[in-house]
Structure formats: C-alpha cells, structure tokens
C-alpha cells in the first residue's frame, strides 16, 4: 500500500503516523520523497518508530551498526531522502522500528540528540543560503529584463513554461523556508529542559503533505507538459488569430474601413492573455498571406499593449522605436509627431515600400500600427487616440 509521504521534518507527527499505521497492521517499508510504501503484517499496539538524523553521508547504516541496534531491540527500516534539498539525493533521516515495549528509547540523551539535529539544521540552512540568493538573482534578472525589454515579457502568456517554472521555483523556496522553520522549532524544543515529544498530531502534517503534493507535483507536471507542448508548437504557432467578431470583448484596433481603404475579409486578432500586461492584442487586416508579392493592396496590423505598471510604457515605446530602427531599417528617420490626446507619438513613412508606421503612447497604453495603403496614417491618428480612450 502506498500513501502520500509526510514531510520528515515533522518528526513527532511522522513517528506517531507510522505507529498508528502499525497499530492497523501496516508497516513501513520505504519512505520516498513523495510516497511511502507500507506492507501488511500483524496489528500491534506498542510498535515504536523513531527518526534519527543521518550522521554521516550514508543513509543506510553498515551491517555491524544494524546488528548492534538490533541487539538492543531496534531494527533499521529505511532512510528518507531530503525533499527539495540542493544536494537532492542527500539522506536526511534513518527510520528505526522497535517492537519490544521493554527496550529503551533510541535516543536517551537529549543533549546528544540536539547536536545531531543541529548538524541537520546547518545542512538545511546551507540550502537556504543557495536558494534565496538564487531566486533573488533570477527575479532581479527578470525584473531588469522586463524593465529594459518589456515587449518580450508582455508577449509572455500566463501559462508559459517560464512563468510556471518561476512559480515552481518560488514555491520551492517557500517550502524550504517552511521546513527549515519547522526544524528550528523542533530543535528549540530539544534545547528546553522538558524532554522533546516523541509523538505529535499528524493531521496538520498530513494536510501539508496534500497541499504540497497538489501544489508542487501538479505544478511540476504542468511545467513538463507545457514544455513538451512548446517543443511541438514552437515559436508561438499555438496562438491563433481569430476574426474580431468572434471575440466578446472590444478588440483594440482601427479598421481599414475607418482609414478609408476598405479591404476584403474581416480583421483578425490575437489576444495574448499576457501575465505581465493588463491587455495585449495583435490584429491584422488585409492580405497578409501574399506579402512577398508585389502588391500594394491595403493592409494594416496593430500591436496594442496596456501595461500593469504605466510608467513602463516609456520603456516599451523606446524599445518599439529601436525595433523600427533595427528590424525595419528606419534609422533615425522616425519623427515625433503632435497628436492631441496622446502623451507621445512617432511617425515614419517607408517611401520605398509604401508602408507607414505610427507609434502612440497614452498613459499605460502603447500602440504600434503598420499600414500599407493610400491613406495618410498620421491624418487618422485621432481615430487611434479615440480607440485607446475607448478600450482603456
């Protein structure tokens, strides 16, 4: 029979839990990171289980030690592996079992027991010393990246591997902090005059194990699944443009008809469900399937970003301008334009290819429109400002 593993850091709770199972005729065989394996035997009331921090490197004691313990009534069952340790295969506790009620306790000297737990505590603190600076560094890099290049982050979906991985990492840190705190509490009890309890209520530890299983294992599975799916749907192709009429909410775009150059077919839009932005949309209208052909038929595409931190709109605007220069060879030709209602506006016409580009910033909104057609995009800038006001 397999059951969800309680965190061995809840020492008295785990001991009580194993003893209660033994009383029901189920005996511990293996204590894994997530699951515990029990085998069936006789029901016994006085079976004792004790957790002992591993002193050296080996989780399984040598034969001589096992024999010596057995002579005093204690049998080695298995070792637990540290969950979410930096050195992940590190054994953490040895689990011993005693069926003889007359046999002495496993550890009878509280001072010595405390020393052993202090060693374990130092190991867990070492984990924290690695994890906390690492998460701080990762978060720092992400925030810096979001500050300098917001566009890439705004196009990140909430269910993307990166976001989930980050969530998993933060949860891992919280978990390591939580189990270290529990270990600190237990070692404090070992420091007091009163003998530390051998049994404790395991209900809370059991609830914690379930929460951990759902949160961690579920999220870990999700990360793996998303990564697998991403492998097969690389480069965002899993995102599909849909006709704007299929969206319930208003799509932030200005149609070719509003620009005075109607085209066949309906505009299509893509909602990014961005985790970093309040709202991120890409729309396109016109014949984008035959871009390579020498056709000057009207086309218009729009990138719309509504940011959670409005001040970052300035950075996004700068990044979009840089993108014009680098990707579309605009160089320093884009000119700042005066558009009423907009905090800032940039306009550029590629005379060679006939494309026009308009970049508007208004509060926490940034809009980048590309247009190929007869109309003058700058003259219709007020329509974009009205649209920004409408969807803000």
């Amino acid at each position: 029979m397999r059951r969800l593993a309680l965190d061995p850091m809840d020492v008295p709770a785990v001991q009580a839990w194993l003893e209660d199972w033994a009383a029901r005729g189920w005996y511990l065989e293996l204590y894994g990171r997530s699951l515990v394996k029990f085998v069936q035997g006789e029901k016994r009331e006085n079976v004792r289980y004790r957790l002992q921090p591993v002193r050296g490197e080996a989780g399984v004691p040598d034969q001589d030690t096992r024999e010596a313990y057995r002579e005093m009534g204690w049998t080695f069952v298995c070792a637990t592996i540290a969950s979410w340790s930096v050195s992940s295969m590190e054994p953490e506790f040895r689990i011993w079992r005693c069926d003889d009620p007359a046999a002495p306790e496993l550890d009878t000297d509280q001072a010595l027991r405390r020393e052993e737990y202090d060693v374990l505590l130092r190991r867990r603190r070492r984990d924290l010393l690695v994890l906390v600076p690492t998460i701080t560094l990762i978060l720092g890099v992400i925030l810096l990246g979001a500050w300098v290049r917001p566009r890439e982050y705004l196009l990140e979906r909430g269910d993307s591997g990166t976001t989930l991985f980050l969530g998993l990492y933060v949860l891992t840190c919280l978990h390591v902090v939580s189990r270290t705190a529990r270990l600190v509490r237990f070692t404090r009890r070992l420091r007091s005059e009163e003998p530390a309890p051998q049994r404790g209520s395991w209900r809370r530890a059991w609830a914690r194990a379930w929460a951990r299983a759902w949160l961690f294992e579920g999220l870990r599975l999700l990360v793996i699944l998303v990564m697998i799916v991403s492998l097969f749907h690389f480069n965002g192709s899993r995102r599909h443009y849909l006709p704007v009429s299929q969206y319930d909410e208003p799509v932030p775009y200005v149609s070719l008809a509003e620009l005075g150059t109607p085209a066949e077919g309906e505009a299509e839009a893509l909602d990014f469900h961005s985790v970093w932005g309040k709202s991120v949309w890409w729309t396109m209208e016109g014949d984008y399937e035959h871009l390579e052909e020498d056709d000057d038929g009207p086309r218009c595409s729009t990138e719309y970003y509504s940011l959670r931190i409005p001040y970052m709109a300035v950075n996004l605007e700068a990044q979009m301008l840089k993108r014009w220069s680098n990707v579309m060879d605009a160089g320093d030709r884009p000119e700042q334009a005066a558009v009423p209602g907009a905090d800032s506006a940039w306009y550029w016409r590629d005379d060679a290819k006939g494309w026009q580009f308009l970049l508007l910033r208004r509060g926490g909104q940034v809009l980048d429109a590309s247009y190929l057609g007869e109309a003058d995009l700058l003259e219709h800038a007020d329509k974009y400002v009205e649209m920004l006001e409408r969807v803000k």
């Binding site: 005093m72 306790e105 009878t108 010595l112 052993e116």
Partner: protein
C-alpha cells in the same frame, strides 16, 4: 567542518566511561551495566550509546580493544581516564558546595 572537542560529559557519557573503568566491555554490556548500576534510572538507547562510543573514539577517550565477529569491545584510554577524573572532581566540588551551602553535610 572541524568538530568541537568535548569539554564536558553528559550523564550518559559519564556512565559509559565509568562502565569501562574497570574492564573492557561491548556496547550491550555497557548498556546493561549502566542500567544495573543506576537501577534503571539511566537507560542508554542504541542511538545514544553508539553516538557516544563513536564520539569517544574520535576524541581518543576509548578505543576498540578487539573485534569478534560483529562484536566490538572497547577499552578506556589514559585520556579517557583523565577526562573522567576531571569530570568526577568537578561533580564532587559541586556536591560539596551544594551540601555546605544547604547545610545538608552535617545532617547526613
């Protein structure tokens, strides 16, 4: 990380050294001797006993005198005797001071 040298003995440690004072003994004999001597007041569990034996060996207070099969027999070293004497002296002074101050010396 270097281990801190043993500065004083816990009660269990004291009795383990005492058990080896007169004769060599194996682990179970030490535990049985201590239980008998203290009339069951001090029980040595295997976790404690073998932690102490390991610590004492590291400190050079005891050493294995012979091994027969899986049975290991320990003997106290001169350093162990010295440590024990120091601890005993300290305890005696504590007892003397306590008795003198509480006036129990005269009454006993």
């Amino acid at each position: 990380m270097a281990r801190e040298p043993l500065k004083s003995l816990t009660e269990s440690m004291f009795y383990v050294l005492l058990a080896l004072w007169r004769q060599e003994r194996c682990g179970t004999e030490i535990a049985a001797y201590v239980r008998q001597l203290t009339e069951g007041r001090v029980a040595l569990g295997p976790g404690t006993l073998y932690a102490i034996l390991g610590k004492f060996q590291d400190e050079g207070l005891i050493r294995e005198s012979w091994v027969q099969g899986r049975m290991r027999v320990y003997r106290i070293t001169d350093a162990g005797r010295e440590m024990f004497r120091r601890e005993l002296e300290k305890m005696c002074r504590c007892v003397d001071n306590g008795r003198r101050e509480t006036g129990e010396e005269e009454s006993t």
